[in-house]
């Protein structure tokens, strides 16, 4: 069969062929099986925030190679060229149905979304901005974990981002996490587990230990949905599994609930 490239794609979920146009119209969710394909940053923004409302902040922060780790610089260059990003996470301010928020969106295509110094710094700055401006912080996570090419620096980003979450917690500024495919290891065991509300996209891989690092479940039969959104939901770790097409509306409702302007201030203004 001769199919022009880019017209159709095979769904990793149901192995069926879908027209790309149809896929796009359906939020990059397979119309046949509901598989949630990964979204590029611009697609995620288009589906989530008010049109034209996103302003990137701290986009100039970029990686160094503090350990001189084998091939790290090359991989960074390659992924910067591939994704047109400086790192896996993009942060900024935006509105959803007119409600302001600080937003972070991870892109797994940049070195597996791994958390190195840049991700940690941008996340903490986003959190500090949220605290200062008393705007809710919403983070879409997608990461294989800490970026081992930055060694102990990357491990410390777990403490760093959790410190940012502590600051939000103490200040009473809402923090919402949206777990997308995949969110694992050092990211799941730090800021991704600290939201006041934790949402997840259906079918995303969500868990602690990456399977390649070592399967320590010798002899134990793992459930079919092990380390997925549904598994974590069942275990009580996730508030809601939200299909992509309902995400914007769900966030809007939560932002309305969390409206951080104290009632008396609103009353005074009227």
């Amino acid at each position: 069969m001769n199919v022009p490239e880019g017209l159709v794609s095979k769904c990793p979920g149901c192995k069926e062929i879908t027209f790309n146009k149809e896929l796009e119209r359906n939020f990059n969710v397979c119309p046949k099986c509901g598989f949630h394909h990964r979204l590029a940053l611009t697609e995620r923004l288009a589906l989530t925030v008010d049109e034209g409302s996103f302003l990137e902040i701290n986009g100039e922060v970029s990686s160094q190679d503090p350990l001189g780790f084998p091939d790290y610089s090359t991989k960074l260059q390659r992924d910067m060229a591939k994704t047109n990003l400086r790192d896996g996470i993009t942060t900024g301010c935006a509105t959803i149905e007119g409600k302001p928020l600080i937003l972070g969106i991870a892109d797994f295509n940049f070195m597996g979304g791994s958390m190195g110094s840049v991700a940690g710094e941008k996340i903490v700055r986003a959190m500090e901005t949220g605290e200062r401006e008393r705007k809710p912080v919403v983070l879409f996570t997608a990461s294989g974990g800490a970026r081992m090419q930055e060694g102990l620096f990357s491990l410390m980003q777990m403490a760093k981002t959790s410190a940012g979450a502590a600051k939000l917690d103490r200040a009473g500024v809402p923090y919402i996490v949206v777990l997308t495919h995949p969110t694992t290891a050092g990211v799941y065991a730090s800021y991704a587990s600290l939201g006041d509300v934790i949402l997840a996209e259906p079918g995303a891989t969500v868990g602690f230990a990456g399977l390649r690092v070592g399967n320590q479940n010798m002899g134990v039969k793992l459930p079919d949905d092990f380390q997925t959104s549904e598994f974590q939901f069942r275990c009580g770790m996730v508030d809601r599994i939200v299909p992509r097409k309902e995400m914007r509306a769900t966030l809007a409702k939560l932002l309305t609930f969390f409206d951080v302007t104290p009632a008396e201030v609103r009353a005074d203004a009227q």
């Binding site: 922060v61 970029s62 990686s63 350990l67 620096f153 410190a163 230990a209 770790m237």
Partner: protein, 339 residues
């Protein structure tokens, strides 16, 4: 005598054997006479071999590779948390349980007296014999362990006692049960709460500082590392598996990860490296305990002079500023076009 010598310690162990042989000769009148008849001064020979042994040991221990340091950090004769608690603290009362569903023996802790201070002390606990290792789960804490740690942190805060922590774990437990019981969330909670605990926290990495399982109880105002301890984002075996699909290249990965105490100090991620007795803490636990006690005392004294606000803002800034990144001068707030 060198118990359980590591591969790179074998030459020292061989010299020790020779010295032992010579000493035996010295004690046995017949053999001694034999030696004298052959023109050998037994005492002088022992002295010569002992001097050579010292020189060799210094040479070997000052040229350890990162992988050698991993081996040292994992040595089964190394003092563990309860050993140090026994040697450094008085009146230790171990407290158990996470008040949810379990007691995790991989993390121990309780109330104790440290010099003139009442403190809360806790840490990962490994064991030496097979049964003990299984019971302690090789020092890999489960969610219940982190919940116990969180409880102990809150206890310290509530009663305004300093918190002393010992870190020694290969990693947090990652099996199905740990996942079901929320291992990620409990570690994350420990990380967040430890930033906020309003009493001084002194952390010492005494052996393996294994990724999130270590950091989960290591958000301290001061973080000390023993000379032959390691601190890493991922076990070298796991790193080698990811990079080269070959766990046997762990030694190489250890080098790339720069996981030694000296590296951590150079990176500014820990405060002090405490020199160990020649051959490591496992060769002279009492001496090591003395060094550790002195260092903790000194750091605690510094921290006690700070106000609570100062303590907490220093701790926040310390972890908040960790990382290496570049930043161009350009101020961005450029809209990203939405297609």
């Amino acid at each position: 005598m060198l118990n359980n010598p590591l591969d790179f310690e074998k030459p020292i162990a061989e010299l020790d054997d020779l010295i032992d042989e010579l000493k035996k000769v010295g004690r046995d009148p017949n053999e001694r006479q034999d030696a004298v008849n052959n023109g050998i001064d037994v005492e002088a020979e022992i002295g010569r071999f002992e001097a050579a042994r010292q020189q060799m040991a210094r040479q070997i221990y000052s040229n350890l590779t990162p992988w050698n340091e991993v081996q040292m950090a994992r040595h089964t004769d190394r003092p563990y948390t309860l050993d140090y608690i026994g040697m450094i603290f008085d009146d230790f009362v171990e407290l158990h349980g996470d008040r949810t569903n379990a007691d995790d023996p991989a993390i121990v802790g309780g109330t104790a007296r440290f010099g003139s201070d009442a403190v809360v002390v806790m840490g990962h606990q490994k064991a030496r014999d097979l049964k003990g290792r299984q019971m302690r789960n090789f020092g890999s804490a489960r969610p219940a362990g982190f919940r116990k740690a969180l409880r102990l942190m809150k206890l310290a805060e509530k009663f305004r006692k300093p918190l002393i922590v010992f870190v020694d774990t290969p990693a947090a437990e990652a099996n199905l049960m740990a996942e079901e019981d929320g291992i990620s969330e409990t570690i994350a909670l420990c990380l967040r709460e430890m930033v906020l605990i309003s009493v001084p926290i002194v952390v010492s990495v005494i052996g393996e500082g294994g990724s999130g399982g270590a950091l989960g109880i290591a958000v301290g105002d001061r973080v000390l590392m023993l000379e032959h301890s390691v601190y890493s984002v991922i076990p070298p075996e796991g790193c080698a598996a990811i990079l080269w699909n070959d766990r046997n290249r762990a030694a190489e990965a250890a080098g790339a990860l720069k996981l030694t105490a000296k590296h951590a100090l150079d990176f500014g991620l820990v405060d002090e490296v405490l020199e160990e007795p020649l051959g490591g803490a496992q060769r002279d636990p009492t001496a090591m305990a003395g060094i550790l006690k002195q260092a903790i005392t000194r750091n605690l004294k510094d921290l006690k002079s700070l106000s609570t606000e100062g303590l907490l803002s220093n701790r926040y800034d310390r972890f908040r500023n960790m990382g290496r990144w570049a930043e161009s001068e350009t101020v961005t707030c450029a809209p990203v076009p939405i297609s």
